[in-house]
């Protein structure tokens, strides 16, 4: 039996994001891709699928740093990948990655999402070099999944994807980005 809902694309980035290269946390989306979600948009059970492709650059990621993705709504972190330990196989420019996050609304009002995802790349701790097949890192990394931080779904909120890293060299760049409401 159908629910009379459909998959709707909320945003698709027309250009790549900024090159994120500094220590700390910053948005990895172009401003036009930071879509505003209207008030009362979410219902319990509504799911968002966030997909991104991109690249990380320089060997510095392989020297003990970590990378971490955050999905935020109105500045509230609703999904945290937790710090992903980068391995030692990066060593070169523009290593491709794929990021896929599924968020399911568990509560509204003071709202929250259950979230899990995958990150496929050649810089993760168990990955092979870029010329070989890769393993898949499950997110949140190395931790049981749990609902994220709360946000107020009764207000409009901007959806953003942030990235944080703990070494001051190297860059991350989003090439493609889409958000779909899948029901």
């Amino acid at each position: 039996v159908g629910r009379q809902t459909w998959v709707e694309t909320l945003i698709a980035a027309e250009i790549g994001g900024p090159s994120v290269g500094t220590l700390g946390t910053s948005s990895c989306l172009p401003p036009a891709a930071r879509v505003a979600i209207p008030s009362n948009f979410f219902d319990v059970g509504m799911a968002l699928r966030i997909q991104a492709t991109g690249q990380v650059t320089t060997a510095a990621f392989g020297s003990g740093g970590t990378g971490e993705f955050f999905v935020t709504l109105g500045g509230n972190t609703v999904f945290d990948s937790l710090p992903i330990a980068f391995g030692t196989n990066l060593g070169g420019p523009g290593r491709n990655f794929l990021l896929d996050i599924l968020l399911t609304c568990r509560t509204i009002g003071p709202a929250s999402f259950m979230g899990q995802g995958t990150w496929i790349n050649s810089v993760g701790p168990g990955s092979n070099g870029p010329a070989l097949g890769q393993t898949i890192d499950l997110l949140p990394w190395n931790s049981p999944p749990a609902v994220g931080g709360t946000f107020d779904s009764t207000f409009a909120a901007q959806l953003d994807l942030l990235f944080a890293k703990t070494v001051g060299t190297g860059t991350l760049l989003i090439n493609e980005y889409t958000v779909q409401a899948i029901n």
Binding site: E8, L10, A12, N96, F97, A131, G133, T178
Partner: protein, 180 residues
């Protein structure tokens, strides 16, 4: 805030594609799956997600390479580049799963897509010498930074096609399922 657009399936395949055994590039789709996009279908920011599954066989030691490309009216808008199978063992009709994510970056007579994807299979270099062997994932384009593909003319109709290229005649590939 919604854009009042929805996900639409452009084409699926009701049957397998041809079993490809020869060296060189050849379409891996059955003719009925080569649907045609009307002129001016694409806008900047429109995304195509291509999912395909199938089976592949390669020999030990000299398996050659595996390469997929997406064509619009013969123009290669995405190229996986040559993927290295596992040379440490022979594989016979093992499954594969391909997903390609294309975002339109330009339209007109010089339209193009930015593309990336993944090819999941047990037959990929990087496997341990012995079992157990889980499937690995090749990031596409393989071992190369992603970028925009070749131009195509979005002001004309464009027939969609996917080609597979192998470099030895000892392997084979068959596509079983396709969804665009």
């Amino acid at each position: 805030m919604a854009r009042q657009i929805w996900v639409e399936t452009v084409t699926t395949s009701e049957i397998d594609g041809p079993t490809l055994t020869a060296i060189g590039a050849a379409s891996m789709l059955p003719n009925a799956a080569k649907s045609t996009f009307p002129a001016a279908t694409f806008d900047v920011g429109k995304v195509l997600r291509i999912t395909a599954t199938g089976r592949v066989s390669t020999v030990i030691t000299t398996p050659g390479t595996l390469q997929f490309d997406v064509r619009l009216q013969g123009n290669i808008v995405f190229d996986s580049l040559a993927i290295t199978p596992d040379p440490s063992a022979a594989y016979v009709t093992v499954g594969w799963y391909l997903e390609i994510f294309l975002t339109c970056r330009a339209i007109g007579t010089t339209g193009n897509f930015f593309g990336a994807g993944k090819f999941a299979c047990t037959d990929l270099a990087g496997q341990p010498a012995g079992p157990p062997k889980g499937a690995l994932v090749a990031m596409l384009p393989f071992n190369t930074t992603a970028g925009v593909g070749a131009n195509f003319d979005s002001t004309n109709p464009n027939q969609f096609d996917m080609f597979f290229t192998q470099t030895v005649a000892t392997g084979s590939l068959t596509m079983h399922q396709l969804a665009v």
